[in-house]
């Protein structure tokens, strides 16, 4: 587990430890999602997990784009910025560069993050900007009432694709990995404890943390993830990842993922003499495992949930501020008078 989670947890400010509870993070705003929307659960887990980080409320900022997900900041009793469609990561990058002391979260949707905002996501992740990006993936445009999103499955009939989409969907995890994101995870709105645990890991990561939360939009894409998230089937159809542990899943914990050559396959423990030792062991630092996990999905495979990847790399704001500290150390703190008088000057009496 050497390289995981960077330079340890993001450091909350020194001093008295702060004792806050979930309620402290509930704002006075009325929540305005559709009844039954998966966003409620994500909000609840976000509020529940906040006290774990030891940050005072005022040092936490939630920045969102536009979409149903984008409303979340209104409901958090922290600082919040509901920006414009797709651009939340850019505000976060500027804020974090200016204010490394803040804990910054970005809340986004599948359209916000991967359609209009795809490029900012890519660049924020590759820079390892120290923000936690939580993407609500309902595989649809909720707020604009039901058009296809970049994660909508091929052929899906939506308002904007009455004959079915002709666009091959993107895998959010694959995009994050291509950007060399240092932390990549997936959870599900209804897996409340797992979701909280995943947000907890993301919150303690130093650098860009990307979390895909599979979310149900009961109005425009009801049951998008039902086939593998329904209570009765979820254990058989999802694969809960744990660093250093073999990839086992199933109600009976009798199934697993094995590499056949370098191709993954589902096997049953005990069949054909297969034992735990044959299974692939999850390693959050291994890019090839991350890639493989980004590509397996129901129905061919169980859907991986948990932390796919977690590695250490210096963060953008840290490097930026190190350069500044270095320049000051080397040249002294900038002197305005000297700066203005630099270069060739002459005096007129």
């Amino acid at each position: 587990m050497t390289q995981r989670d960077g330079h340890g947890a993001v450091a909350p400010p020194a001093g008295e430890p702060i004792q806050l509870g979930r309620k402290d993070f509930v704002s006075d705003q009325e929540v305005r999602w559709c009844p039954g929307c998966g966003d409620y659960s994500i909000l609840a887990q976000t509020q529940r997990v906040m006290p774990d980080f030891g940050y005072p409320r005022e040092n936490i900022v939630f920045i969102s784009g536009i979409g149903c997900s984008g409303r979340l900041p209104y409901y958090m009793n922290t600082y919040g910025f509901h920006s414009i469609h797709g651009r939340a990561p850019t505000l976060a990058a500027g804020l974090k560069a200016a204010r490394p002391d803040l804990m910054v979260w970005v809340i986004t949707g599948d359209g916000d993050a991967l359609s209009i905002g795809g490029n900012h996501l890519l660049h924020t992740l590759r820079r390892n900007v120290d923000v936690r990006i939580v993407m609500f993936n309902n595989r649809i445009y909720g707020l604009t009432k039901g058009q296809a999103s970049p994660t909508s499955e091929m052929g899906k009939v939506t308002k904007s694709s009455p004959f079915g989409t002709v666009d091959y969907p993107v895998s959010p995890l694959a995009v994050a990995l291509a950007a060399e994101a240092t932390f990549i995870a997936r959870s599900v709105d209804t897996f409340t404890d797992h979701l909280k645990g995943t947000l907890d890991r993301a919150g303690h990561h130093r650098g860009s943390a990307f979390v895909e939360v599979l979310q149900n939009c009961n109005i425009f894409n009801d049951g998008a993830h039902r086939e593998f998230t329904d209570r009765e089937v979820r254990e058989d159809r999802t694969l809960t990842l744990e660093h250093g542990a073999p990839m086992i899943f199933g109600k009976e914990r009798d199934r697993g993922i094995r590499l056949n050559g370098h191709q993954p396959e589902v096997v049953t423990l005990g069949q054909d003499g297969i034992t735990e030792a044959d299974l692939l062991v999850h390693d959050e630092t291994d890019p090839l495992i991350a890639f493989m996990l980004s590509r397996i999905y129901w129905p061919e495979f169980p859907v991986p949930v948990g932390v796919i990847r977690s590695i250490a790399r210096p963060t953008h704001d840290q490097m930026l501020n190190d350069q500044i500290a270095g320049a000051i150390a080397a040249r002294g703190r900038g002197d305005l008078k000297r700066l203005l008088n630099a270069g060739e000057t002459w005096t007129v009496e």
Binding site: F81, G94, K337, T347, V348
Partner: protein, 628 residues
């Protein structure tokens, strides 16, 4: 204006008030450097100067081709000047392409110094010369000095062990040396520059030194020049001076503003000509706490600046027209969240990609109106390279005092042009500190200062002020999302009123010349020098003509209407098709006449003078007999 003196070689020295030189050659010939060296020398000598670098969009266009010609014009003077000169007195042409591209602007009788070595059949053919202009008599109306620069130069560098290519790269310093001789200038500053620049490459340094001296000595020994010229120092106001381009002054101004505000400067930007140099420069000021962020695009750049301003820093972004277009949605967000973000637009010739290295004033209406909905913000425009410093500070003052985005309009001519700049004393600079809100009692995110209508700057990290902002309409005072119809109307008016309030804290529009009269020439931005010069010529002739120059485009100074109505006619020269003109007409119902040229170049003084005379004639003012 001219007094004859003698040098050793019995060469006359004439004193001139002002000289304009244009160096022209291939983009590989180092003309920009040559021009800059002459400029430094003249400036340090005490002349007033003004420069106009003009280079191709191509990095290295094919050698010897017309699109590859790079030019640098500088004017130096013993009196106060405002422009790099309409036309050169001397053209230095390093090859046939440079000759062909520039000859049209050299007035009859002007001096032409030509590198004859470059006039090969092949080079002539490249630019479509059927015969050699140096020999076919077609240059008879100019005073031509034929100098085999390449040959003379390589002779001087012989034995140094440089490659042919290396030798060739120094020939611009030969030309420079010759010009130093011709204008009796000290080679010292340039020799020192060579020393520093090539500290680690002794033979290259030596090559350049020799080239420079060879050029100088050639002037001294050749018989072809019968006169030298001296332009005495100008009577500039006392102070310490340096040479500065608009982009340099802009960068320095924002660094200074951040220091004066006691805040970090955050600069988010995406490279684009002619704004990139601001990024290059600011990126070097790390020890001033300047944080530069080369974003993935212009949208990210302004987004990051908004994020930084939200965090309490001075949020700055810059681009040119196409990039500003991309920023427009986010600029609207800055208007709605009322954060102090400064957006610099270094305008270039458009539309679309247009002519990226050329100047224009085509973005005024874009920055005023190029956003959805009623989205008012403040717009400033410095008029000279030196003013770029002052208005950077002013932009930050307004942004933080009123909590509003501010657009700062520069252009390619300002950005790259240079002038002597009197370095301001620090204690003359304004205090820009504004407090963050810290008191939770009675805090409302959209409560307003009664005087400025600014909302509080309540930055994350402040206990008890946790609140949410965003692009949806805000409830007055409380700041929660509101769809209330009357609230929207009120907030729309408040945002407008706040920008209008800025007019209370800015100086009135100044009139240079009579306060009332026949003709007012109204300008903005980099056309200042040409307008001022043209107007002064007319004033010298006794015409009742004045010049007013707007630095504040939104809001306009409170007295603007009065000024306009004090003249029988208002002429608005712009490097666009009449953008300020439309605004002025719409706001004040004054029948302002436009003069529009979009050639990617600054105005010539003479054309403005002629146009002003035409207007006077139309008013029935006989030339030279204006009401005095």
């Amino acid at each position: 204006m001219s007094t004859g003196t003698k040098t050793e070689r019995a060469v006359q020295t004439r004193e001139l008030e002002r000289v304009t030189i244009r160096f022209a050659g291939d983009s590989g010939d180092g003309m920009q450097l040559t021009g800059t060296q002459f400029t430094r020398t003249a400036a340090a000598f005490g002349n007033d100067i003004s420069t106009f670098p003009d280079f191709p969009a191509e990095i290295r266009a094919p050698a010897g081709s017309l699109p590859g010609v790079s030019g640098f014009q500088l004017s130096f003077s013993s009196s106060d000047i405002h422009t790099p000169g309409d036309a050169p007195d001397v053209l230095v042409a390093m090859n046939p392409a440079a000759l062909k591209a520039n000859l049209g602007e050299l007035p009859p009788g002007g001096a032409l110094i030509v590198n004859t070595d470059a006039f090969t059949t092949q080079n002539l053919a490249k630019v479509g010369y059927k015969s050699n202009p140096l020999t076919d008599g077609s240059l008879s109306q100019w005073t031509v000095f034929n100098v085999p620069i390449s040959t003379l130069n390589s002779g001087a560098l012989e034995g140094l062990g440089l490659t042919n290519k290396q030798v060739d790269l120094t020939k611009n310093f030969f030309a420079l040396g010759l010009m130093f001789w011709l204008y009796e200038r000290d080679m010292g500053p340039t020799l020192a520059w060579i020393e520093a620049k090539f500290a680690k490459r002794a033979e290259i340094a030596e090559g350049n030194r020799r080239a420079l001296r060879a050029g100088y000595n050639f002037g001294e020994t050749t018989e072809i020049f019968h006169e030298r010229y001296i332009v005495p120092p100008a009577h500039l106001p006392p102070g310490t001076y340096r040479n500065i381009t608009g982009n340099e002054a802009t960068a320095l101004g924002f660094v200074a503003a951040a220091q004066l505000a006691g805040r970090d400067l955050f600069y988010g930007s995406y490279p684009i000509t002619p704004a990139s140099d601001i990024l290059h420069q600011l990126a070097g000021y790390k020890n001033f706490g300047v944080k530069t962020f080369q974003a993935e695009d212009e949208i990210a750049a302004v987004g990051a600046a908004i994020g930084a301003a939200y965090g309490g820093a001075i949020g700055l972004t810059a681009s040119s027209g196409p990039g500003i277009a991309l920023k427009s949605e986010a600029m609207g967000l800055a208007v709605m969240v009322e954060l102090p973000v400064v957006i610099v637009d270094v305008q270039r010739a458009g539309p679309s990609t247009g002519m990226p290295t050329k100047t224009e004033q085509g973005d005024l209406l874009q920055v005023l109106f190029g956003r959805n909905g009623e989205s008012p913000l403040v717009v400033l425009a410095p008029a000279t390279p030196g003013e770029c410093f002052d208005y950077a500070i002013e932009a930050v003052r307004i942004a933080t005092t009123y909590m509003t985005p501010v657009v700062y309009l520069s252009d390619a001519f300002l950005a790259n042009g240079a002038e002597p700049w009197r370095i301001p004393a620090l204690d003359g600079l304004p205090d820009l500190t504004v407090p963050n809100r810290t008191e939770p009692d009675g805090f409302f995110p959209y409560a307003r200062d009664p005087k400025t209508l600014a909302r509080p700057w309540a930055v994350p990290g402040t206990p008890g002020l946790e609140h949410r902002v965003g692009g949806l309409e805000k409830a007055d005072i409380g700041g929660n999302v509101s769809y209330d119809p009357e609230n929207h109307h009120r907030m729309t008016e408040l945002r407008q009123a706040k920008v209008d309030r800025v007019a209370d804290g800015i100086p009135p529009l100044e009139v240079h010349g009579p306060a009332k009269g026949d003709l007012l020439v109204l300008g903005w931005g980099s056309t200042y020098g040409a307008i001022r010069s043209a107007v002064e010529r007319l004033q010298a002739d006794g015409e009742s003509v004045a010049h007013a120059h707007l630095r504040y485009l939104n809001p306009l100074p409170a007295n603007t209407g009065d000024v306009l109505r004090s003249f029988r006619r208002v002429l608005v020269p712009e490097l666009n098709l009449g953008q300020l003109q439309l605004l002025i007409r719409g706001r004040y119902l004054v029948d302002a006449i436009g003069y529009h040229r979009v050639r990617g170049k600054p105005f010539r003084i003479s054309e403005l003078e002629a146009e002003a005379r035409r207007q006077l004639a139309e008013l029935g003012v006989p030339a030279g007999s204006a009401t005095r």
